[in-house]
């Protein structure tokens, strides 16, 4: 095993990182088998709740892995202490690189605003939190049976992107009653009107409390909304929704800072490696090769890719920023931005050109054409898949008197309507926990408004 010798270098790398100004909480390193690495990447967490959809992702990944398409070196989880899992199959050189990479991530997750906020909310150790959820769900399966728990998870996990991290994790319900109407202000008209004497023909409005509409405005945190307001949701079902939501609060910043975060870690692994004079020469070369494999923009043997490698994009941007403005300026950006600000502010015309970035249009018949240069449009094309946690803008708009739920899709924000087939299936999942009719408004491909509805249990189970 190369594990022993790799661990020998961890202390030295940490010293280098500290000298370079990286600030991170302690990290616990663990070498795990490749199969475990793969599961971490499938579940997003080392121990997570069971659901058949993860099995599907697992087998897909397994097949890709067998075909040699992907290789995982490390996965890091923020926290104090942080947890880093390294593939046991990594070579010594790879693990040295990976250790430095992990420290870059640990620096990022301790200092970046989104991460800090999410850790304040979710707690400093998501790994243990998720394991607790898994246990809680295993217990629910024991008590209520697999089928019932699965029904709840089908709905909750289908909505996992639909959270509002701008709101606190522990979020109070909406007020049940509308605030009492403020006493009418003092104005000339009202004084003259009242001087006419009491209005005898009309009964005075009864003073009393008025029920507030729920939700008062369209609510996009669907997981929270269902947990709070589903008419007949049982306690344990509510707990499952909240558990999924808590994990989403953890995943959201990971998603929203991917380019920055991977770029930051790649920058620091490259830089610390350059300074690692203690490494044997051949290990150094291996590590350098490994680095160039990770941050290369396109597959070997090609020189054009129709996708962006976030490692490469982030790495290059950070390299330029630090070159031109120094480490302190870079650290400030790292603390304050997410990918939206980062890409818009830092991906300048010169940098985009140097990177060879281009926008393309792929028509349905398979034709792919390069579009004209337009920096703003390039930014938007890069960021479009990242808005709203990558999910369409669907919000809960009303609970009708019969308890049925109305959802509305903001098609103007997304630029087009929802896929009716997939959406109907999601409504079916949702209906099984809402237990009242569920409706959703969106537009069809011609822009006409349509409504999808799922009511009676007429659907196949």
């Amino acid at each position: 095993m190369s594990g022993a010798s790799w661990r020998d270098h961890v202390g030295a790398i940490q010293r280098l990182a500290a000298q370079a100004g990286l600030e991170h909480d302690p990290v616990e390193f663990e070498a795990v088998p490749d199969s475990f690495m793969m599961e971490i990447s499938v579940y997003g967490l080392p121990v997570r709740m069971p659901h058949w959809s993860f099995g599907l992702r697992y087998i897909t990944q397994l097949i890709q892995h067998r075909m040699g398409h992907s290789r995982l070196f490390e996965v890091v989880f923020p926290g104090n202490p942080g947890h880093a899992y390294l593939a046991a199959g990594n070579s010594l050189a790879e693990n040295v690189l990976v250790t430095a990479h992990v420290l870059g991530h640990a620096d990022f997750s301790r200092n970046n605003l989104l991460f800090r906020r999410s850790q304040q909310q979710v707690g400093a150790n998501i790994v243990e939190g998720a394991a607790r959820h898994a246990q809680q769900i295993a217990q629910a399966i024991g008590e209520h049976g697999q089928a019932r728990v699965e029904r709840v998870l089908d709905a909750a996990l289908a909505l996992e992107q639909h959270v509002d991290t701008g709101q606190p994790l522990e979020r109070p319900r909406f007020p049940d009653y509308a605030p009492p109407r403020a006493a009418p202000g003092d104005d000339g008209f009202r004084r003259r009107y009242e001087a006419l004497g009491p209005d005898t023909g009309r009964r005075a409005p009864e003073p009393g409390r008025v029920r507030a509409p729920i939700p008062p405005r369209p609510e996009r945190d669907l997981l929270w909304f269902v947990a709070q307001y589903a008419p007949d949701l049982e306690g344990w079902e509510r707990d499952i929704f909240l558990a999924v939501r808590e994990e989403s609060f953890y995943f959201q910043p990971v998603f929203a800072t991917q380019v920055m975060n991977e770029g930051w870690a790649s920058y620091w692994h490259a830089r610390l490696l350059r300074e690692a004079s203690f490494l044997p020469q051949d290990a150094y070369l291996d590590a350098a090769k490994c680095h160039s494999d990770v941050v290369r923009p396109w597959a070997s043997g090609e020189n054009v890719a129709l996708a962006i490698n976030p490692y490469h994009l982030g790495f290059t941007l950070w390299e330029r920023i630090i070159e031109e403005q120094g480490v302190e300026a870079a650290r400030r950006i790292m603390r304050e931005d997410d990918d939206f600000g980062f890409v818009r502010n830092q991906l300048t015309r010169e940098r985009a050109e140097a990177l060879g970035l281009f926008r393309f249009r792929a028509s349905a018949n398979g034709e792919v054409r390069v579009a004209e240069h337009d920096l703003g449009a390039l930014h938007e094309a890069l960021l479009a898949p990242k808005y709203n946690f990558g999910a369409p803008a669907v919000a809960a708009s009303r609970i009708a008197v019969d308890g049925s739920l109305e959802l509305v899709h903001d098609h103007r924000l997304d630029g087009r309507g929802l896929d009716p087939e997939a959406s109907t299936r999601v409504l079916e999942y949702l209906h099984r926990v809402w237990r009242r009719p569920v409706r959703l408004k969106t537009v069809d491909s011609r822009g006409h408004e349509i409504e999808m509805a799922v009511s009676a249990e007429a659907q196949p189970r």
Binding site: V42, Y43, A305, A362, L418, D419
Partner: protein, 393 residues
């Protein structure tokens, strides 16, 4: 990797994948008759059936696919207006913008014949089963019948299998350490598996013999014969699963009749004319020889294209009437792969017009022209509800 050996036992990905497959199986369950009908179970002695199924999909809200998708790429020397992929050539692997493929993936699900039979025969019974003297007098109950190395996966006894595995590994480790190739013994082998032989259905307090009589004359086309054999296959599998004390007799006839053992029966083919009475007579002989009606419930299932020789009409009718005196049930499976028939053939008429006397057993007929009908036929003959009355339609 022994320090991580524990991990293999608790693979979450594998666990959730198995659960996915279970759900697929549940879905497949509903389409089982069609799948079963098309499966090639008669070839070789396989105990499994392979059916292609779709992977399930867990849906999320998703936008309509736009006519034109925008993306960002990276490359050297790419200029606006360049065409990177033509409409004719579909984007090669790894180059397409992705997310374009519709629907889910397909994979092959391997179903155990035992499992299928369990599902299909859940509600099936032999019609008119009566207690007979000399039969093993057992009450209907939930009966455990010990363990076996073969069985439906649903009956896998995990605890016991694990114990077997422990025993084997302990003995292997003791015998040769380390093993010849330096690898630890495998965690599980097929020999370790133990299946509960737990009979959860009523067992007959009776003995029964089932005669499977097949017309193999020249008029029976290959497709007809296949229909008949598929029916017999599933019927025999089910009967064996359902009843412990059941005997099966295989008879084929053209103008004469022969008894076959099971393996040869499913391969037999003949030519020449059709004389049903020869088959009935053979069955009668075997009954007289080996299966006294006082000790056995007797069943006959006869598969034929129904083209019985007209000269045989009186003879066949007489033989059938005699058979009915001793049989609990006689069923006729009318196979006609070429044209769809509705029990209009000579033999169907024979069964319909057979005069019933007081003690005579029930008759039943069912037409089969497509593989999809086979399951309906099984249901028709063995379904719990129809044990009494029988109408020939």
């Amino acid at each position: 990797m022994s320090e991580h050996g524990w991990y293999e036992l608790f693979s979450r990905g594998a666990r959730d994948w198995l659960r996915h497959n279970e759900k697929v199986r549940e879905a497949v369950h509903q389409h089982l008759p069609e799948l079963v009908a098309n499966a090639d179970v008669l070839e070789g002695g396989t105990r499994t059936v392979r059916v292609p199924v779709r992977m399930l999909e867990h849906h999320h809200f998703r936008l309509l696919r736009p006519g034109e998708q925008e993306g960002v790429g990276q490359g050297e020397g790419v200029r606006p207006g360049d065409r990177l992929a033509g409409p004719a050539s579909p984007a090669g692997p790894g180059r397409g913008p992705g997310g374009r493929e519709q629907g889910g993936m397909e994979f092959v699900l391997e179903l155990q014949v035992d499992d299928i039979v369990d599902w299909l025969w859940d509600e099936m019974r032999l019609p008119n089963l009566q207690p007979r003297a000399g039969g093993a007098a057992e009450e209907t109950d939930w009966i455990r019948e010990g363990w076996d190395r073969k069985g439906a996966r649903s009956r896998l006894d995990r605890r016991r299998s694990f114990r077997e595995s422990l025993k084997r590994r302990a003995s292997q480790a003791g015998a040769a350490q380390p093993a010849a190739d330096g690898k630890p013994p495998p965690a599980f082998t097929d020999d370790d598996l133990r299946f509960r032989q737990l009979n959860r259905r009523a067992r007959p307090a009776t003995q029964a013999v089932v005669f499977l009589l097949m017309d193999v004359s020249g008029s029976m086309a290959d497709a007809d014969r296949k229909l008949a054999k598929s029916f017999f296959f599933w019927a025999v599998q089910g009967l064996r699963r359902q009843y412990r004390h059941i005997e099966t007799v295989f008879v084929a006839h053209t103008t004469e009749a022969w008894e076959f053992d099971e393996a040869r029966f499913f391969e037999v083919r003949g030519d020449g004319g059709t004389i049903a009475s020869s088959g009935f007579q053979k069955v009668q002989e075997i009954v007289a020889e080996r299966y006294s009606p006082s000790r056995y419930n007797i069943y006959l299932f006869y598969a034929s294209d129904g083209d019985n020789a007209l000269s045989d009409r009186a003879d066949a009718a007489a033989r059938l009437a005699q058979l009915r005196e001793s049989a609990s049930y006689c069923g006729f499976l009318e196979v006609s792969a070429a044209v769809q028939r509705h029990l209009t053939t000579e033999t169907a008429r024979l069964f319909r017009n057979s005069p019933g006397s007081g003690g005579a057993g029930t008759l039943g007929s069912f037409p089969v022209s497509r593989t999809e009908d086979i399951w309906n036929a099984v249901r028709h003959f063995f379904s719990h509800q129809q044990r009494g009355q029988e109408s020939a339609s």
